[in-house]
Subunit: 339 residues, 2 copies
Amino acid sequence: MRPNVERRPPVMADVARLAGVSHQTVSRVLNDHPNVRAETRTRVMRAIDQLGYRRNLVARALVTKHSRTLGVVSFDTTLYGPASTVYGIEQAARDAGYFVSIVSLRTIDRAGVNDAIGYLAEQGVDGIVVVAPQRSAARALDDLPAGMPAVAVEGWHQGEVSVVSVDQVEGARLATSHLLDLGHETVWHVSGPADWLEAEGRIEGWRAVLTAAGRPVPGMLTGDWSPRSGYRAGKELAAMAGDVTAVFVANDQMALGLLRAFTEEGVKVPEQISIVGFDDIPESEFFSPPLTTIRQDFGAVGRRSIDVLLRQIESGEALPHERLVVPPQFVLRGSTAAR
Amino acid sequence: MRPNVERRPPVMADVARLAGVSHQTVSRVLNDHPNVRAETRTRVMRAIDQLGYRRNLVARALVTKHSRTLGVVSFDTTLYGPASTVYGIEQAARDAGYFVSIVSLRTIDRAGVNDAIGYLAEQGVDGIVVVAPQRSAARALDDLPAGMPAVAVEGWHQGEVSVVSVDQVEGARLATSHLLDLGHETVWHVSGPADWLEAEGRIEGWRAVLTAAGRPVPGMLTGDWSPRSGYRAGKELAAMAGDVTAVFVANDQMALGLLRAFTEEGVKVPEQISIVGFDDIPESEFFSPPLTTIRQDFGAVGRRSIDVLLRQIESGEALPHERLVVPPQFVLRGSTAAR
DNA sequence: GCCCTAGGTGTTAGCGCTAACAGTTAGAAA
DNA sequence: TTTCTAACTGTTAGCGCTAACACCTAGGGC
């Protein structure tokens, strides 16, 4: 490292010297300590302005043991769901005066999540949010550093850590019931990939409703959340157009793929086949036809998870683990019709 | 702050004691300093394992003056473009051994961006990436803290800072030329909101091609990037279906809105009107019809911006400001046809 | 034997801040 | 008056780490 030519940035001592007080008094002003004379305070403030002083939060964190930074471990923040969740987290954290340090995993497995948590711990974060949509990722929460406040989002867990998630099972119930209520004999399902907790929850809800209604449970198609995989599933379903009259698709992107495949094959939606999606991405309302779907309030999930995490951090002790569930919402549009 | 019941995490001195060396030797091992005997190194490593020691990067940052953290200021990371860019930034940063601290602004204005930069500076980031798609945000880069390495993404700037962006003008040229080449008399444009640099660049490229070809430049419709605004524009254009034969839409989401409006009004795409979008979001390929569009490589933009920023940081001095341009790519699909 | 060098290690100081405590003053209470 | 208290401010220590330097040893050249 070569010597830096420009003057070093001002530190507290510089402000103190200029204001004619001790550095401790400057610290008190900065931290809104009550016992500072008004006149002294303004003198210090003036000195701060004059020097363009900014306090060094790194030094502060070293002594207070609090960095006011939260770590977020997520997966493919390009997707609407994770992106919205992380956005909600970031907003809520900043409103509470915390920074957010993000690690986006390319592949999500226990080792990767563990590494990420380790890095964040070294960095001195006060707590960690893990967006853990897969079983393997969720398991990494078992070996959190001792005493590290944490919360799982969209994860599954048994008591080791608090979890905030949308009620996937209930969402699937809403979707499936809607289709049965319209008079369909049964409902097919295009699921998300195995190992994903959301996919599992949606399968569970779908199956539960069919079983409770005494309907046959058709074979299930599996996609990978992408429109392309929905397109492939759509081609298969179109070939069975006579038998299939209603499909619950595990997310809106795949539903778009189905719609495209059906259009190509001349299958009319909703006249011949009704479709319900999941997520309510901003595009869904403008699909042709507009997609009936289940809305997930990702922003609420993000905010709730920060609530839970901050309560843990600020209490300074291990709180009992909560399981917070955000309700999904049914959104009726044009892709479903009575049989 | 109440007393913490559990033992404090081990520090370097604890490792040193257990390994029977000085803390400095532990530091040397951790930093891969060459002059450490192999036997000593393994002894230290063993002690580290045994205690589960993790070094405190906050303390390290205080003395080295480098936090190995980069700040990112962005806007609405729910949208595909910003989300993908931020993802690319995060990946590239982590590959280079840096953390990423993110601030997502709700509204993007000079004051907001300035505040965000200020927070990040206090936090001790080594450099800042500002995703500054609006003129007002880009201007905030004029008052960066002295000596803070920074790079603007999708921004516009005159020499104060390096900029990495996709060539919007060229993308618009590609779109417009394609439509003229297909034999359309002229091309209409649904633009992004005013003050957005991307919107301006796309207007510029569109207009330039029309003017160069001696074609009339039709009145322009303006949206806000949302599918809904595209839908509204589509309704207007459908009413003029005889005159309008080709539309260049400033992003794919609005193009989807147009498609929906045209479907409702019975306007056939591409038979009656051809449409070209911009972005190539994952959904575009599965619109009906699949959307001809201009692909932006957001990942590349993110990676390049980190390249530029790290070069600045690691050189330790003010490098000349660069203007890096990532080429857009034309993607032919089914929403355009010859006149 | 001497010196010199290089490898390996320990000692000390200090990064910029806050916490804890130690004054100092002024005014109220005794 | 004295004494106490509260309000305000300064002094000191130390968070956990790295940089700089000091110090040992062993081995080679003379």
